[in-house]
Assembly symmetry: C2
Homo-oligomer: 301 residues x 2
């Protein structure tokens, strides 16, 4: 099955303790498409770029099973740009600049022929835009939703409305505490599950993630890495791998979503081993399956 | 099989955001014995107390399969006392007071008939005292060793000598970074494995623990708890449950030690649910087995 992916497409300038890159391909939808493309296809990207978006980027996305008919290319416009510098610990980062450019007036339009796509992924964008997408799609089977601390801060009401309508919310531990006002993530999860999403994933960065579904839980560590080059896109790759796997298998059971989370964990680990999207390009099926097996060995008793 | 346990026995005064208790039974050897007593027996405790140590404490330890022939009771002496206050996050704590009392001149003496005990657990005490114990025991099969940041700071040379002689070292993530000078725990583990211990466990508090053995790893989350009453003794209960299980099964394979770590995780969770040693008293076999099963369901895919 296919996946409909809504999110940002950007040029990133990234500094980590190891290296620095400028104007490299980034954005939540980009990472999600690349990771998902190893599982489901074609995946329809809905987003906006300027005419500075190069043919090499389009080719790279297409090579990874992305269909670009929902991509708006604004003549004379500039693509969204973001710059960030990671701290020594690689967990914290400072935003150096944000130039919204064409993203400032982004209004996602789902092409008519894509409105019946059964698997929909709302990347991290302003909740009213996420709701706008929800109003355009018809009879979705499963909706994945990401968000961030900014929206919890300034768009909580709208975000809660979106949360009631989606099947899975993916957030990190500090966001779960912000939404719920609880200090304990298991209490936070209980609070959020009452609002709506059947499935809730709380990500804990280097400590892995926890899935909540009804009264069940599934805990998975991050893939062990001795060196992280660039954490940018880790969460999006996780979500892309998960959603792509679930869409390909067309199975939204707890058991299958657990497997999807393991694949998501593998994709996040490939992502952070290299700068920008490099770690997600040109992976082989064997590389992904071997990492999945390593996750099994790491956790099995 | 039996376990020989060396460590502190104390009266603790503990403040957490939830409650406060004074002069309650504590100390590393106490928690280790209580947790191990659900698996191996009898377990020989080697430690020192004053004559303020009450018969009810002796009875409670005996009831949990502890043999006290190695316990020194100093006439006219006072038992070691420690006071601590936990922060709101329950991860950090301030030491309010430390009265070493009879522990100040503690010199562990292993009774002759116990020197051939095959499983030995060196609780967190001054490394020269740990070495003193190692010099007294004969043909041990497996030696577990705990330590703390203080000894890494002021007794690193002596600690490294102990590390060369033990089979398993159990430390937390910040201690692994202190010993190795590495910021990444997988690099830290690689450094420490070269020093000696065949098995290394790095504990990550609420995020679980990782076992390292040759080129293999095993990652386990903490048991999910919505409320923690008192974190005191969590690490000791973990180690006690693990060592007790390994001693009872008399199997030091990687596979069996993984199971032991899961039992240790369960014992740590029982410990922190209540103040002081209360959570480790009077558990049933079913309660422990059910928690083990829950850990399996939590991690299986």
């Amino acid at each position: 099955m296919s996946l409909l992916i809504i999110g940002s497409i950007a040029f990133d300038t990234i500094e980590t303790p190891i290296d620095k890159v400028e104007d490299t391909l980034g954005g939540s939808a980009t990472y999600i498409c690349l990771a998902a493309g190893y599982f489901s296809k074609p995946n329809y990207i809905v987003g906006v770029v300027g005419d500075d978006f190069k043919s090499e980027h389009i080719e790279m996305l297409e090579k990874h099973n992305t269909d670009l008919q929902g991509l708006q290319i604004i003549k004379g416009g500039k693509t969204f740009r973001w710059g960030g510098r990671y701290h020594e610990n690689l967990n914290d980062r400072d935003t150096l600049f944000t130039e919204l450019n064409v993203f400032e007036t982004f209004n996602p339009q789902i092409p008519n022929n894509l409105r019946k796509t059964e698997f929909v992924l709302l990347g991290n964008i302003d909740p009213p835009l996420q709701m706008n997408v929800l109003n355009q799609i018809e009879s979705p089977k499963f909706i994945f939703c990401d968000t961030m601390n900014l929206w919890i801060d300034i768009r909580k009401k709208e975000l809660l409305e979106v949360m009631e309508k989606v099947d899975m919310l993916v957030i990190n531990d500090s966001e779960s505490k912000m939404i719920s006002g609880e200090k304990n993530i298991f209490k936070a999860a209980e609070y959020i599950q009452k609002i709506g999403p059947k499935y809730l994933i709380i990500k804990k960065g280097e400590h892995g993630a926890i899935l909540f579904y009804e009264d069940k839980m599934f805990s998975i560590p991050a893939f062990p890495l001795k060196q992280i080059s660039d954490p940018t896109g880790a969460g999006d790759s996780f979500l892309g791998g998960l959603a792509g796997y679930v869409a390909r298998t067309n199975d939204i059971s707890f058991k299958n979503i657990k497997k999807g989370i393991v694949y998501g964990t593998c994709m996040a680990s490939f992502c952070v081993e290299h700068f920008s999207t490099k770690g997600l390009e040109n992976l082989s099926e064997d590389e992904i399956e071997n990492r999945f097996k390593e996750m099994k060995e790491l956790t099995e008793f």
